[in-house]
Structure formats: C-alpha cells, structure tokens
Symmetry: C2
C-alpha cells in the first residue's frame, strides 16, 4: 500500500469508528427514552457526555459516558493514537521489530445495565498500522441471568456478520472468544461468549468490510436484547446477585484483559481504559 492509500485507510477506518459510535450512542439514548419500568420513572432519560483527551506522544480520543436509567454506566470510547512503542513493547507487536512507529484507531464499548435481567456487553474493534497492518476486535455478552433466546440471537447475528469473511470464520472467532473470555482462577467463562479476533492481515477492503459488519451486527442485536428486558421488575436478591457477578467482570478485566494491561502499561488514559469497570460492585 502506498502512502496515499495508507492515509486513506486511516481516514476511512477512523471515520467508521466515529460513525459507529454516533449510531450506537443514539440507539442507547433511544432506549433511555423508551423505558417504561416503574423504577425508571424516578430518573430522567440518560444522555451521553463526551470528553476529549490528548495522548502524550500523539493523538488522543473521546470518552463517551452515560449514566442513565437503563444504562447504569456505559462507556463508548473512540481513540486514534500514533507514536513509537517503547522498547518493552516494540518486539511484541507485529511489524515493529525494525520500525517501532505505530498508528491505531478503534472503538471500545462496555455497558453495565441497571436491570439485572438486561445483559451487560462488551464490543471493540480496531485497526492498527505498523510496518504491517491489521484489524482486531470482539464482542461478548455477559448476562447476570443467562437467557437462552438472547444467547442464540446474539450468536446468530455475529455468525451472520462472519459469514462473508470466510467459511470457518465464525467457528474460529467463537472458539477464540471462548478461550479468551475465560476466568482461569474461577474456572468459569466470564459470560456466554461471542467472537474474538486479532491480527486479521488479509486484503484491507476484505477485513475492513468484516470489521464494519461486526459493528453493524452489534448495533443491530444488542439494543434489541436490552429492550427485551428493560421493563421487567427485579428483586433486591437479583440486584445483590448482579453486584456480585460484576466482581467477576472486574477480576477478568484487571487480571487478564490484554487491552487493559496494554493500555495501562503504555501510558494510555487510565480514565478511558477503566471506564469499563462497573459502577457498583460487591465482593461478599
């Protein structure tokens, strides 16, 4: 890819992640408006607040955060950063052994819901350019009370997004998610899975189209799953169980999540990175 094409690839991927962010935020705000749960009437519908930040060393991002009546805390971050990897990391990242410069853009989303029957979820996709260039990302569902129909619908929509990527893509990316979103010290998965993929170095248009389809799939199915449950009543016991289960999410993110560890150890913005942590958690 020549320099002009590389710049065009950066411009288009970044624009996509920002567009996807805008559409997701609009969909989530609509759910805030639509909620009719008795408890929800005590709170005004939530709205996203956006806060830009600059990265020392190059680039920055925008943190989007909403504390609403459906979404107790949801963060949607877009960042586009560039610079030079430290010696420590340069060797670990493809294409950096001779030239440690990089460019990366991506969207990252974590939603924690007020209603214990609404499934929390995570989604992120990114494009990274060093001497090589690739796409990575994933999406998974972390219900407090797993619901078979939700799990099937979530996976079916992701499978559809994977179909044009390759015959075995869904099977591979689902397996990768099962392995990745696992909490070894608890001996349990962190949720009901989804897909996980990285280092997709195929032709740019092919991988970029796939990345967009993953975003579209998430936007299509996840608000639908939240809508299914957001008006259901819940008990104090269910709330207590929800706060306890959120502890597992924190354990996974701080002990095992590669993005979190990588971000914090490369001088990323801790407020943006830790926006994934639940608003309220218990360890009994």
């Amino acid at each position: 890819m020549n320099d002009e094409d590389a710049e065009e690839a950066k411009r288009r991927t970044r624009a996509w992640f920002e567009t996807l962010r805008d559409r997701i935020c609009a969909a989530f705000e609509k759910l805030e408006d639509d909620c009719t749960a008795a408890d929800a009437q005590e709170h005004p519908p939530g709205r996203f607040a956006f806060e830009p930040w600059q990265r020392e060393g190059g680039g920055g991002g925008v943190m989007g955060l909403m504390r609403g009546r459906v979404f107790e805390k949801v963060g949607v971050n877009v960042s586009t950063v560039s610079g030079t990897f430290s010696i420590e990391f340069a060797g670990q990242i493809p294409g950096t052994s001779e030239d440690p410069t990089f460019w990366a853009s991506g969207i990252s989303l974590v939603a924690h819901l007020r209603n214990p029957h609404c499934p929390p979820a995570h989604m992120n996709t990114r494009h990274i350019r060093t001497a090589k260039s690739w796409f990575g990302g994933g999406a998974d569902l972390n219900p407090i009370y797993p619901d078979e129909a939700d799990t099937r619908a979530f996976h079916a929509r992701l499978e559809q997004a994977c179909a044009a990527h390759g015959e075995d893509s869904y099977a591979r990316f689902k397996k990768w998610a099962d392995e990745y979103f696992f909490i070894p010290h608890r001996g349990e998965p962190r949720g009901v899975g989804g897909i996980f993929f990285d280092y997709l170095e195929g032709p740019f248009e092919h991988e970029f189209a796939f990345t967009r389809r993953v975003g579209e799939a998430f936007l299509d199915i996840y608000p639908e799953l939240v809508a299914r449950h957001m008006d259901r009543p819940w008990t104090a016991e269910e709330r207590a169980h929800q706060l306890e289960r959120r502890g597992r999410y924190v354990e996974f993110n701080l002990l095992y999540d590669r993005g979190t560890q990588f971000g914090l150890k490369t001088g990323g913005n801790p407020r943006a990175i830790l926006m994934s942590l639940p608003p309220e958690v218990t360890w009994r």
Copy 2:
C-alpha cells in the same frame, strides 16, 4: 540447618502465625464489642467465622472472615502449603533452580472498615523454605481520609519493630513499601505506606524474631487506630468517597500485587486470595 532443625523451624513459624491470628482476631472482636457509634447499635457485634481449606498438591489453610459493625469485611488467613513449583515459577523463586520443592507458611490480613474515618490496613508475614529459606512480609495503612497523627503513630511503631533488625532496616523497608504500594497508572500511592520486606535470609532466629516483632507491632497499633475513629459519625458524601477509594485498592491488588498474581497463577485458593477485595466498591 539439618532436617530436624528445619522441621522445628516449620513447626515454630507456623505456630507463631496461628497464635498471631488468634490474638488479632480477639482484638478485632473486642473492638466490635466496644463500638458505641449510633449506627453500630443496629448491628450485633461481629464474630470471625473460620473455614479450613485443602490445597491440591499439599497443605492448606484456614480462612477467617468477619463481617461486623466496625469491620465491614476483614479477612485473616493463615496457610501452610508445600509441594513442587511448576516449571513456569521454579526459575523465579530463590533456591528452586535444582529442586523445585517448597514449603511456605504465613498470615495475611486485609481490613475494610465501615466507618470512612477508620483506616483500612493490610499486613502479611511469611516464611518460605526451598533449598534456601527466608522471611518476607509487610504492613501498610490505606486511610480514606489520611490523618497525620495516625500515620505518624503507625510508622513509629513499625520503626520500633525494625530497630533491633538493623540500623537501616526501617528506612530500607519503608522505602521498599513506598515503591511497592504505588499505583503506576494512577500516578499515586495506594495509601500512606508502611514497610515491605522480602528475601530476608539472615540467621533464622534473627529474622524470625523480626517477623514476630512486625506482627506484635501491627497488633499493638492498628486496633488502637481503629478505636480512635470508630465512634465518629460520617456523612453520605464520606461514604461515597470511601467506596470510590476502595476501587484504587482493587486496581492495585488485581493489577500489581505480587502475592495475588502469584497465588492465583499457582492454583491457590481464589476465595482466600480474593478475600482482600472490599465488600462494596464503586467506579464512577
């Protein structure tokens, strides 16, 4: 040290950790009885519940947990384990390059208080035997609202415990704590410090006496600091700030604490290891 002496060292160190545990638990239960705060009268004085556990591979421990009116959640664990390090760890632990077998006994304590004016604290000491043998441990204070008199008293008592160990021991172990109990991604210390020490391979009687003095110092000063503040009233704002600050403790423990990482990755008991996590936490 011959085999008979080694067995005697194991017997004595283990007995000390168990005795210290009993005395600390008694002191904490007394505080539960003594508390006169208005809010405390709604709850009965807490009592420790003890639960033994067995380690696959050798040994085990006893988890001690109290949920009281002064101590919202306090864990005091004693464990005595032995076995063979996995290949992954054998090279990293002194004295295991030729023989990967080990024996370890220790006490570990983390206290989270209900009253935001009472300082949370951590203390642990341990004796480890491989082809080498050594003592390690530490104690630090993590006030929500630092109080200069408390900080001075805590450090003064630890300094006294270090005095007979060596002229510069307190200065070295305090500096070690300042470096260790630091949260890099937040750019802030996790509390007001204390002492931290490891690989103390001096003469057994010398290091064991020091380890006992550290335990005695903690037992002497920490209940006193809790007693100073436990009857003070607090506001909803102070409680909210406390829950937020507890998040920093979780971040440190899961991202950086060597004992936590080591324990979870060597098949330790996750319930005992994660007993250090606060009962209720927020990330706003």
